[in-house]
């Protein structure tokens, strides 16, 4: 339990450190806002349209593939941890599991999902 208490302390103090810096800066910095200063900068021109628009679907597809392989990694970690005591049987099973996933990657590759344009 106290092992993870350290993590909690680090998270809280990390947030605290940043907030403290913001506060300190807030106390000593100048504040002269005006509309022109607060406008968004894009090549010295007023931006055309908002930036919250549809984005390239490639990002989404890469995220999907990432989720698949990240889940694979989550499965691989406990396996790798006890691998030496389980021996050949566990190794063959994992080869099959990884093989299926690599086949999936090959499929995505051939489908052109890994191309970026």
């Amino acid at each position: 339990m106290s092992e993870f208490a350290a993590i909690a302390v680090f998270l809280v103090l990390g947030v605290g450190f940043v907030l403290f810096n913001f506060l300190l800066s807030n106390l000593i910095r100048p504040k002269n806002p005006n509309p022109i200063k607060q406008s968004t900068y894009e090549c010295g021109e007023t931006p055309v349209g908002p930036a919250w628009i549809q984005f390239n679907v490639r990002f989404y597809i890469f995220c999907l593939i990432f989720v698949i392989f990240d889940v694979e990694i989550v499965f691989l970690f406990p396996w790798a941890l006890v691998f030496q005591s389980l021996g050949l049987f566990a190794f063959v099973e994992m080869v099959i599991f990884v093989g299926i996933l690599m086949f999936g990657l090959l499929y995505a590759w051939k489908k052109g999902l890994l191309r970026w344009y």
Binding site: E3, I7, L11, V18, N21, Y41, F59, C63, A80
Partner: protein
């Protein structure tokens, strides 16, 4: 000689005595000790980042046959301190059309994700705040949270450069996360433990370093880690020549400083993990253990700086293709080879 664990033990005992004298229980003792440890590491991290920024500027300068900062202090050694004070005094310009809450929290998330890792890094013999039994898994998990900070920054700024920078950064970091974690698995298969301290403990002698048994794994880790921290040749999220400054374009003053701090903390972190996993951590002759750790880690950081002025930047398609079509199959292959060796020998 010069080992810090005795000092840490002494300070810890003093804190325990003080807190107990105030009439509080053992839980409070642990809490106060942890708070003091965390504050110490915040101090260490801040000073180290000041040093690294100075080093980055000096290394860059000398590689380009310039001299770099020379005016503030001896050979400009106080330059970054002056810069930090300047950033503290800078007006905080928040554009009027940003998503305020997300804009405010993005630097906090990024910094905390970079800083929380320091709880499990073994800086020397006995110099670790908490030796989690899932140490390396925890590091992989928590550093990925930094991506959320970058995405928050890119999205909330309501600026197309920021948005593109944020998305590119997220795509890049998640893509290289996979080969990096697979490279770590290669080491875990040999160590049979996830605890950082135990991994270091297994590499006492020079020939026991895991880099000798996991050369492919190390190369994959090195490339993926460089991409994880957005360094050249993988610095597309901050490609100055096309995206102004990427996701930090709309940030100024202390908020910008927090992103900067997180970036350099991450650089130190990946070098520290590399040292721990592949180069024997704090093990070494003669010098105290923490000094060995710092020497190895800073050497790693120096290589990252050196590469910045050696290689050109990749294109986005090359970058993504390299992660998925080359590094990922290679990492899987590395795991299979490692497994085969362990099973057969």
């Amino acid at each position: 000689m010069l080992e810090l664990d005795k000092l840490i033990g002494f300070v810890g005992a003093q804190i325990a005595a003080l807190v107990t004298a105030l009439g509080l229980g053992p839980d409070w003792v642990t809490l106060v000790q942890l708070v003091v440890a965390a504050l110490t590491l915040i101090g260490f991290a801040s000073v180290m980042v000041l040093g690294l920024v100075y080093a980055e500027r000096k290394v860059s300068a000398h590689i380009q046959m310039r001299v770099g900062p020379m005016r503030v202090g001896w050979h400009g050694i106080l330059q970054t301190l002056a810069d930090a004070v300047k950033l503290l005094q800078k007006e905080d310009i928040t554009p009027s059309n940003v998503d305020r809450a997300i804009y405010f929290w993005a630097p906090i998330v990024t910094f905390v994700a970079a800083f929380a890792v320091y709880a499990v890094i073994p800086f020397g013999r006995g110099l670790v705040v908490t030796d989690l039994n899932i140490g390396i898994l925890y590091i992989l998990a928590i550093t990925t949270f930094g991506v959320i900070g970058l995405l928050m920054a890119g999205w909330s700024s309501n600026n197309k450069y920021s948005l593109l920078g944020g998305f590119r950064s997220a795509a890049q970091v998640v893509s290289y996360e996979v080969p990096m974690a697979l490279a770590v698995i290669g080491v875990v298969m040999l160590t049979q433990t996830l605890s950082m301290v135990q991994i270091v403990g297994q590499q006492e002698k020079f020939y026991q370093w895991y880099v000798w048994r996991q050369p492919i794994g190390f190369l994959i880790y090195f490339v993926a880690a460089t991409a994880e921290v957005n360094r050249t040749p993988f610095d597309l999220p901050e490609a100055d020549s096309e995206l102004v400054a990427g996701f930090v374009t709309e940030y100024s003053g202390m908020k910008f400083a927090m992103f900067f701090l997180a970036e350099f903390l991450n650089m130190f972190t990946v070098a520290a993990i590399g040292t721990t996993l592949f180069f024997g951590g704090w093990n070494g002759p003669v010098l105290p253990s923490w000094m060995w750790f710092l020497i190895k880690t800073l050497a790693g950081v120096f290589v990252l700086m050196w590469m910045r002025w050696t290689y050109p930047r990749l294109r986005v398609d090359q970058l993504m293709g390299f992660a998925w079509k080359f590094l990922l199959p290679l990492a899987i292959l590395n795991i299979l080879i490692t497994g085969l060796f362990v099973v057969l020998f």
